[in-house]
Symmetry: C2
Subunit: 334 residues, 2 copies
C-alpha cells in the first residue's frame, strides 16, 4: 500500500528506508567516506532490501563519465572485426567500461545514424573503422576522443592504427616473384575501400617494377564471382600461374575453385592471401598468407583511446603495424 508503482527504486527510496538524507546515501554508494559505521550498515541494508542500483543516467546528467565507449565496425560476423571487438572489449573491461557495439555494414548512411545514436548516449570515447565515405563534420561537435583502426578517417586529425597494407602487398608480390611466378592475378572485392586500394597499389608497384603483366579482377565478392573471374584466367594461351587475394574470404573462395577445377597448388597455380585465417594451415596444401596483427591493432587503438580519455596525449599521427609473411607451401616454398 505504501508504493503504487513497482518501479525501479531510487536513491531517495533508500534514504527514506534507512531514515537518512539523500546526501548520505550518495556518500555510501561512492566509497562511504565520512559516514559512521552505524549509518553505513543501515544504508547498505536498505540497498540490499530494495535491490537498489544507482542510475547511470542520473549520474551522467551531473557530468559524470558514462563508463561506456562506442565501437563501430563494418560487421560483427567478419572474423577480423570480431577478433578486434574481442580485444577492445578486453581493454574496456580493464577500465571498467562497457562497449556499445554498432555495425555500419560499410554503409556511410548507417554509419552516420550509429554515430548520432552514440553521441546521444554521451559515450566517453569512440573506436571506429570508418567507411570509405565517412563524414568528418559528424564528429566535429563530438566532445569525446575518437580513434580509428584498420582504416583512416578522411579528417587526418583522428589518430589511427592500421596494418601496413602497402608493404604487405609488396612483400607478398615479391615473394611470388622470388618463387618464379610471372603471371600473377590479383583479385579483390571492395575497390573503394582504403585497405584494398593500398594493397592493390603495393602489388601493382612491384609488378610494374619487375616488368611483369598487371592482371587484376577487383570486383569479386562471393564464391560465384570468384569462380567466374578465375575461369577467365585459367584457360587459353595466357594462363596465370599465381593468385594474390586481397582479402581473406577471397582466398578461401579461390582455394575452392582451384580444388574444384583440379588445379594443383602450387604446381600449376600458386595461392597467396592477405589476412590469415583460422584453418589456413589445415588446408591441402596449407596456404601462405600475409598476417595482420589484429589483436595488437585493436588493443593499441583501445589503449590509445583510454589514454586520450585520461588526457594523456597520444599524438595525431597514423600508427602503422608491421605485417608478417607466413609461408606454408602454397607458393612452392621448398
Amino acid at each position: 500500500m505504501t508504493k503504487k508503482t513497482a518501479s525501479v527504486p531510487a536513491l531517495m527510496d533508500v534514504a527514506r528506508r534507512a531514515g537518512v538524507g539523500a546526501a548520505t546515501v550518495s556518500r555510501v554508494i561512492n566509497g562511504g567516506q565520512n559516514v559512521s559505521t552505524k549509518t553505513l550498515a543501515k544504508v547498505q541494508a536498505a540497498i540490499q532490501e530494495l535491490g537498489y542500483h544507482p542510475s547511470q543516467a542520473a549520474r551522467s546528467l551531473k557530468g559524470a563519465k558514462t563508463k561506456t565507449i562506442g565501437l563501430i565496425i563494418p560487421s560483427v560476423a567478419d572474423p577480423f572485426f570480431s577478433a578486434a571487438a574481442a580485444a577492445i572489449q578486453e581493454v574496456a573491461l580493464e577500465h571498467e567500461t562497457l562497449v556499445l557495439l554498432a555495425a555500419s555494414d560499410n554503409q556511410p548512411a548507417r554509419e552516420r545514424e550509429q554515430i548520432t545514436a552514440l553521441i546521444q548516449r554521451r559515450i566517453d570515447g569512440l573506436i571506429l573503422a570508418p567507411t570509405y565515405a565517412a563524414e568528418p563534420t559528424m564528429l566535429q561537435h563530438a566532445k569525446f576522443p575518437v580513434i580509428c583502426f584498420d582504416r583512416p578517417f578522411p579528417d587526418k586529425a583522428v589518430p589511427t592504427v592500421l596494418a601496413d597494407n602497402y608493404g604487405g602487398a609488396k612483400a607478398a608480390t615479391e615473394h611470388l616473384i622470388r618463387n618464379g611466378y610471372e603471371r600473377i592475378l590479383c583479385i579483390g572485392g571492395d575497390a573503394p575501400l582504403f585497405t584494398s586500394q593500398k594493397r592493390v597499389k603495393g602489388h601493382r608497384d612491384v609488378i610494374r617494377a619487375a616488368g611483369l603483366p598487371y592482371l587484376a579482377e577487383l570486383n569479386v565478392q562471393d564464391y560465384l564471382s570468384t569462380r567466374a573471374a578465375l575461369d577467365r584466367h585459367l584457360a587459353g594461351r595466357q594462363k596465370i600461374d599465381a593468385i594474390f587475394c586481397i582479402k581473406n574470404e577471397l582466398t578461401v573462395h579461390a582455394y575452392r575453385v582451384l580444388r574444384e577445377r583440379r588445379i594443383a597448388i602450387p604446381r600449376s597455380v600458386a595461392l597467396l592471401g592477405f589476412d590469415d585465417f583460422e584453418l589456413a594451415d589445415a588446408l591441402e596444401p596449407p596456404i601462405s598468407v600475409i598476417r595482420q596483427p589484429v589483436v595488437e591493432i585493436a588493443r593499441k587503438a583501445a589503449e590509445m583511446l583510454f589514454k586520450t580519455m585520461e588526457h594523456e596525449s597520444v599524438g595525431k599521427g597514423m600508427i602503422t603495424m608491421r605485417v608478417e609473411l607466413v609461408t606454408r607451401g602454397s607458393c612452392g616454398e621448398q
Copy 2:
C-alpha cells in the same frame, strides 16, 4: 564571451538561441507537432548551428526507454557467438536500438559484474547466454525482460531459445553406428556447461542402447590436450574407430591430430563434429557435422525480447530449435 565552457550544448541553449521556450524545442525534436512553420525553421537552424544532440541520459531519466539492450556472451571471438551477436545486432537495428555488448568468459563472477553494469544503465532488455552458475537472484529486481539463448537460466521462468543438443548428439551417434563404427570416442571440453552435458548424455544414451562401449575424454581444451587424449585411444589393442567432438574447436584439433598421425579419415577413424564451421567442407576429407541454426536461434531470441518489451506475451517456455546432420564424407558416407 557568452559561454565559458565549450561543453555539449543542451536543449536550453537551443531555446535561447532560437528565442523560444524549452517546451517548444522539445516539441521540434520529437516530431514537430503543433509547432508553426516559422518557429520550426528557427529551432532547426539553431540545432544545426550548435550541433545539438538530445541527451539520452536526461530522456531516460524521465522514464523514456533507453533504446539500448544488453547482450552477454562468453566470448566475442567465438565464431558461434559472434554470428549470434551479428544476428542480434541486426534485429536491434530494425528496432532502432543499440546493443551493449559484454563478455562473461564463462565466469559467473564476471557475469554478475556485467549484469550490474547493465542494470545501472537501465537497459530495455537483456539477451544472455548464461554461465553454468548464473545467479537467479541477480535479475529478480531487474525491471526489464530477459531472454536466454544457447543455454537455459537456472530460474526456469526465463524464456530460452536453444538448439536440440540432446537430439543432435543422438543423431550424430546413430549416424556413426549406422555407418558401422563401434568404438566411438566422445571428446568434450567444458564439462559443467549445459550444452556439453546434454550432448554427452545424448551420445551416451545411444551408445548404451546399442550395447557399445562408452568411451569419453571430457576434459579436453586445446590442441595439446586433444592430442594427448587421442593418442591414448589410437594405440594398443583397443583402438577407437570414430571420434565424436562435442564442440567445434575440438573437431578442428582432432582433425589436425589425425592428419599429423597420418591416420586416414574415415578409413581408419571417422570424425564427426557438433557445430558447423567455416571450412568444414574444404578440408580433406570434408567433415560431417551437426549444424546448429545459429542465426535463427539468435534472431528468435532477439525477436522474442522485442516482443516482450512491447508487452506481447511470448510464453515462459524453452524453445528448442532443430539441428541438422550435414554429411560430407568424414564418416564414410558413400
